[in-house]
Structures are given as C-alpha cells and as structure tokens.
C-alpha cells in the first residue's frame, strides 16, 4: 500500500477497499522498517496521524467533501509550522519550538483531510544542498545509503522515495525541492513565487522561498497543488490570481510544444551520464512531437554568485529574530542582554547558518552594500531578462536539475563553494520567480537523474503538461530504490 501513489490510493479509499487507518498503519510500519537507515524524519507524529486518519475514515464513510488527498499520509518539511507539534527547522535554536498556529499550507492540507505523519529533516533553516547541515542528524539517500539525498528538503524527498510517506511538502529557495527530488528519483515542483502562501513557513530568503510538492508522480503533484495553491491574506506576497484545477493540465500531448534546451547547462561541469540522460529525454519529447531548440543564457554563469549574495543577505536579516526573547533556545547563564544574544546564537546555530549570516551581514554592511548586494540585485535583473527573452520563443525550458547524481556523504562539506555550485541549474529559476519541476529521467550507476522543466510565471500548467507527457511515455518514475 505504502508504495502506491495518492491517486491510486484515493480510488481504494473512496471505494472502501482500504481505510485511512490501515493505510496510516502501513506507512508507519514502513517507517519502523527503514527509518533507522534513511533517517528522513525529525518527528514522527503517530498519535496525531491516527486521530486524523480516523476522522478521514468518518468523512469517507459519510462521503462528505472528499478531496483526492483525504486519508492520504503526507510528510511536512520541518520548517512549516504545525500547531502544537515540534517545528525545529532542524536547528538546535528551535529544538523545543511548539508553534501556536498552523502554516497556511498545513491548515489547507488538514482541511483536505490528509493525514500528517511527521516532520521531515532538512538542512538547518533550509541552508544547504545535502541535508548534512541538519542540526539533528544527516539523512541518507534510499538509493545508496552512503550518498546524500540532496537538500535542503532531503528528508521529504527521501521519505517519498523510501515509501515512508505517500507525498510530502518541501520549500525551494535555490533548488531545495528540485535538487533532492532529482537525487532521490521523485517528482519535485517549485511553483511560481507568490502562488503558494508562505505564511507559517520559517523564512530563509523571503524574495526567493516558495513551498511546493514532492511526490511519486506528476498527477500527485497536481493534486497537492490543488490543495496548497492560492491567495492568502496572511501573506502579502501571495498573489491574488485565480487558481486553475491543475488536473486539467495532465494531458498526454506535447505536439508542437516549443522546448528550449539551455545551452550553458549542457556544457562544462555537467556529468557526462547526466547530460546523456537529459539528451535522451529531449529525443523522447521530440519523438512525441515537441520542437526542440537550443537557447543561450549568458547570464547564468553569474547566477550562483548572485544568489549567494542575495540569499544570505535576506537570511541575515530574517534570522535576526532568533534573539532568545519570545521563543527558542536561550543561554540562561548570560549576565546581560548582549551576551545572551551572542551566546545563544553561537550555541544554537550550526556552521553553515553562521557562515551565511556572516556573508549576508558583510554584503549589506556599510561600504560593501553597493559592490555586493546592489550589484547582485542588478545582475538578477539580467538573469530575469535572459529568461524572459527565451520565453518569447519557447513554451518551456529544460536542463539537468543538478550537474551530478547524488554525491557521497562528506564529499563536499569541507568546501562550501563546491557545495554551492551544485545549485547552478536551479538557482536562476528562483532569482526569476518562475515555476519549475524536476522529474526522474534516467539512471547513472544506480542513482537517479533529474530533468528540470521551467515555465513562465504563473503558467504551472504547461510545465505539468510537459512533465506528465514525458512520464506517461517513460518508466523512470516507477523505479524503486533497493532498500
């Protein structure tokens, strides 16, 4: 049961062949069986899950207001507030934080009747590309336990890949949904900035953060999007636009779709086998009637540098709130206010978080603001323009999601810059605020390869249609890790 997709399970639930309680038991049994090896979760919410499952079964019995996700076990990334349930951001500074409210995505998921089975591990405050920066424990890639699951939503991606959850939420600031989806062989979707409310998402870089689904196939992504997308008065950056029924985008047809392959992301620095997988995916799309052309993105070379000035700058400001006053950890031995700040933040934050606070503070500080932060904001404009120009000729753009498949645990931790460069293909999309998906498109030495499909702002549907068509005509999404 736990190996199936939400839409398959919905049919079984709606026809009462299985109950949500049985399904939740199966998912929790799977967690018991593999979690000591994968370590995808920070918190498993067993009792809460059974309570929600029983209420879902009631709803199904009465046949009232069924959502396709009613009764389906879902995992929530641990940076989304869940009322009364630990929300740690995988940080020691929030190790005991019990939110007094639900994030908007969480309340929408609850209203749909889905069953929250736990909170997933992540790089601390979503800063990282491997989940090794978790202040709790590292997560292991179910395809090869010696490799990383990607990050920062590594726990969510690993949980879905290992069938420890039917689907999950993630957040994506520079690739944090798509890159782990690519490494773990699942589907990961970052919607357009503003499409999904960030209310109750612990802020990292507010102009870039966006919540989205991690699922076993594109159909499940559409189902979860239907639940979480839409305007929210509690998030002033959420956009007040009508939300389509994303199921209508699940059409097996890319005839005459104009697909641009990003030249700069198919050249140097890309693993040969990753490139080959993406090339055969393009052939496949071409065979299905798409028109493929190559598009140049000269500014992409500068995207990583741009991102690693803007994101830390926003983070240094956002993370000023961890001042030990109203919630979170406090160094109780501090004799005065200033040492309370210094000591609490020294003990509570991990190394990568401190590095980024330092980098961001420096980029914003007097004398360096123009040279670093403002310059980066201007280059951001150039990157956005390059993408806009490409979309005058293309319906979607494609690239590998990541330059390589999953790397080994410990391989990049000593050199932050080499870790940062693994986000090269995903970062430009956040800088421009566009929607993009990663879907499984191949395998290299037993590890999954991801294909990234990028769309225009608020045109999630074309992205989903391209991804769905590819998926319907290939088998990669059906592969399971040898756990």
């Amino acid at each position: 049961m736990h190996g199936q997709t939400a839409h398959e399970l919905h049919t079984l639930l709606a026809t009462r062949k299985i109950s949500s309680v049985e399904l939740t038991e199966a998912a929790l049994a799977r967690i018991d069986k593999v979690e000591n090896r994968v370590q995808a979760y920070v918190t498993v919410t067993k009792e809460e899950a059974f309570r929600q499952a029983r209420s879902a079964d009631e709803r199904i019995k009465k046949n009232e207001a069924l959502n396709p996700l009613t009764g389906i076990p879902i995992a929530i990334k641990d940076n989304m507030c869940t009322r009364g349930v630990l929300t740690t951001c995988s940080s020691k500074i929030l190790a005991n934080y019990l939110p007094p409210y639900d994030a908007t995505v969480v309340s929408r998921i609850k209203e749909a009747g889905a069953v929250i089975i736990g909170k997933t591990n992540m790089d601390e405050f979503a800063m990282g590309s491997s989940t090794e920066n978790s202040g709790m424990h590292p997560t292991h890639n179910p395809w090869d336990l010696k490799t990383v699951p990607g990050g920062s939503s590594g726990g969510s991606a690993a949980a879905v890949a290992a069938d420890e959850a039917i689907l999950a939420t993630g957040s994506d600031t520079g690739g944090s949904i798509r890159q782990p989806a690519s490494f773990c062989g699942v589907v990961g979707f970052k919607p357009t900035y503003g499409r999904v409310s960030r209310y109750g998402l612990v802020a990292f870089a507010s102009s870039l953060d966006q919540i989205g689904p991690l699922t076993k196939d594109v159909t499940d992504t559409a189902l979860l999007m239907n639940v979480i997308a839409g305007h929210d008065p509690k998030d002033s950056t959420s956009v007040d636009l009508p939300v389509p029924d994303y199921r209508n985008a699940l059409v097996d047809n890319v005839k005459n779709m104009k697909v641009g392959i990003i030249k700069e992301l198919m050249s140097k620095g890309m693993d040969k086998e990753v490139k080959a997988s993406v090339q055969s995916a393009l052939k496949k799309l071409e065979g299905l009637g798409a028109n493929i052309s190559e598009v140049p993105m000269p500014s992409f070379e500068y995207a990583v540098a741009t991102y690693y000035l803007i994101a830390p700058a926003e983070a240094s400001s956002n993370l000023a709130r961890y001042d030990a006053v109203k919630y979170g950890r406090r160094d109780k031995d501090a004799k005065d206010l200033l040492s309370m700040y210094y000591n609490t933040r020294r003990e509570g934050f991990g190394s990568e978080v401190k590095r980024r606070i330092m980098l961001g503070t420096y980029a914003l500080s007097a004398g360096y603001y123009d040279a670093y932060y403002l310059k980066a904001l201007k280059v951001r404009t150039l990157i956005k323009r390059d993408l806009e120009k490409a979309f005058k000729k293309c319906d979607v753009l494609v690239s590998p999601t990541a330059p390589t498949t999953a790397f080994r645990i410990g391989e990049k931790t000593a050199d932050p810059l080499s870790m940062y460069l693994s986000d090269i293909a995903t970062i430009p999309v956040n800088l421009a605020g566009l929607p993009a998906i990663s879907i499984p498109c191949g395998s290299s030495r037993g590890l999954p390869v991801g294909l990234q499909i990028i769309g225009q702002a608020f045109d999630e549907e074309t992205v989903l249609r391209a991804a769905f068509t590819y998926e319907q005509n290939t088998h990669w999404h059906k592969q399971k890790p040898p756990l």
């Binding site: 009322r83 019990l98 939110p99 007094p100 357009t192 900035y193 503003g194 102009s207 002033s236 950056t237 500014s299 070379e301 500068y302 540098a305 690693y308 000023a320 001042d323 030990a324 006053v325 109203k326 919630y327 979170g328 950890r329 406090r330 109780k332 501090a334 004799k335 005065d336 206010l337 309370m340 700040y341 210094y342 000591n343 933040r345 020294r346 003990e347 934050f349 190394s351 401190k354 590095r355 330092m358 503070t361 420096y362 670093y372 403002l374 310059k375 980066a376 904001l377 201007k378 280059v379 951001r380 404009t381 956005k384 932050p416 810059l417 800088l431 421009a432 605020g433 566009l434 702002a457």
Partner: protein, 92 residues
C-alpha cells in the same frame, strides 16, 4: 581580500569560537573572491530586482480580533513571569 570577521560578527550579534573566526575568514574570502566575477558585467543603468514578481503594498483597516492562542505563545517563552517574557536587565 581580508575580512574583519569580528566586526561583522558583532553587527550580526553572533558569537563565534576562535576556530570559527579563523575558518570563516578564509572561507568568506574565497566566496567573495568568487563573487567578484559579477564585476565583469556592465550593469550601468540596469535597475535592481528585489522581487521577481511585481509587488505592491497590501493595506487594510486595523481590526481587533481576540487572541486564541496566548497560552501557547507564552508557553514558548525561554523565561516567563506573570505571563510576561522575562529578559536580562537592559538599562542600569
């Protein structure tokens, strides 16, 4: 490039161990050196983008609504006294 790590840490109210100071000095220099590639680009007359999607101020009338979760908020206090957040002395 040499970065005054102690000054930046002070601005961020961030305590660092001596090892971290040494490590960050070297790592931040390497990252900023890499970021210097941005100088290759002519951005004369290019407007900065702080948000990719057009943003506008969202205003509404203030409304008084009852607080439903005051106990839960207070329960998160690192130190509490009489339903108030207790902090170290700020003024002499």
């Amino acid at each position: 490039m040499k970065i005054d790590v102690e000054h930046v840490a002070r601005l961020a109210r961030l305590g660092l161990s001596p090892e971290e100071k040494k490590l960050f000095e070297q790592q931040l220099s390497a990252i900023l050196e890499y970021a210097d590639i941005l100088k290759e680009l002519d951005t004369e007359g290019v407007p900065p983008t702080s948000h990719a999607i057009p943003m506008k101020n969202v205003l509404r009338e203030d409304q008084v609504v009852p607080c439903q979760n005051a106990d839960e908020i207070i329960a998160n206090a690192p130190e509490e006294e009489a339903r108030m957040f207790r902090v170290p002395k700020i003024m002499e």
